[in-house]
Symmetry: C2
Subunit: 170 residues, 2 copies
């Protein structure tokens, strides 16, 4: 049985997204991209752009489940609020479309994808490319989104072994 996973990296300016299919012990890249909001518009219009963009991604790819990274909250409170607002629009879009959303800590995503909880962004992007051949035009935001999707697939379909093997063969 193939299950389709949508990963998201929410942000007000750009929200990365990535869709993968998981069947038995195989992962397949389907699509990735970013939803952008126009910085010249008001906050309400920008959040509406995220809402519409994510709604369109869900309508186009019909994922069985979605995942987002849990957010660091020990940073600048104003940034936390801003990011929270972007996350609210993104997660509300998923909820309104009836998609279940699971949250993963950044460390658990890295551990699943790279094999180390404190891996750098470059390592994550490298492993995403290795695990999902074909996603050539990868932006950093989409890479993060695909990493979360891989993490969720691993937690939902017993594919820990395949990913661990791939990580070991780096």
């Amino acid at each position: 049985m193939t299950r389709r996973f949508l990963g998201l990296d929410p942000g007000l300016r750009t929200t990365g997204w990535g869709v993968i299919d998981a069947a038995d012990n195989r992962l397949r890249w389907v699509a990735d991209g970013v939803v952008r909001s126009d910085e010249t518009l008001s906050l309400a219009e920008r959040l509406a752009q995220l809402l519409r963009g994510v709604t369109e991604v869900v309508a186009s790819y019909r994922p069985d489940a979605a995942a987002v990274e849990e957010t660091f909250v020990n940073r600048n409170p104003a940034s936390t609020l801003k990011l929270g607002q972007a996350r609210g629009a993104v997660i509300a879009a998923l909820g309104a479309a009836g998609v279940m959303v699971t949250e993963y800590t950044p460390n658990s995503v890295k551990k699943t994808v790279v094999g180390a909880g404190h891996a750098g962004k470059d390592q994550v992007e490298f492993m995403v490319r290795r695990l999902l051949p074909g996603c050539l035009a990868l932006t950093p935001d989409a890479a993060d989104a695909l990493a979360v999707a891989i993490c969720h697939a691993q937690n939902n379909s017993g594919m820990a072994r395949r990913i661990a093997l791939a990580a070991a063969s780096r």
Copy 2:
């Protein structure tokens, strides 16, 4: 010319809302209430409930403009994130419905409604009742929402004088 204002007090558990009409130097209460999310559901489902609830309020009352209070960010970061997410769903709903949203600091709301930036919640509720006769079944969340709506009306239709007079006659 009558202009209709929607005020909102976003929160994940309950989002207060209030609608008022402003014509020349008169304010009129139209409706108020709260959008609740079900605490037993997932975050995505709860944010979708806020999204739907606010969308329904806008569809029912067709406000010309909306306003929300700016949020204190110097509190618990986890609370800031949670509130940010609720605000994101609420403000995205307004943006998607094409409603302009203005933010006011809590102090400017209190100053407009009560005449003092450091007024207590009771004073705000008292003045909201006085300025808007008829809103009898007022919940605290709806009172805050109506206070923001009054603040926005005052800033949009030269009714500062009437409110200042009412405050002075307390």
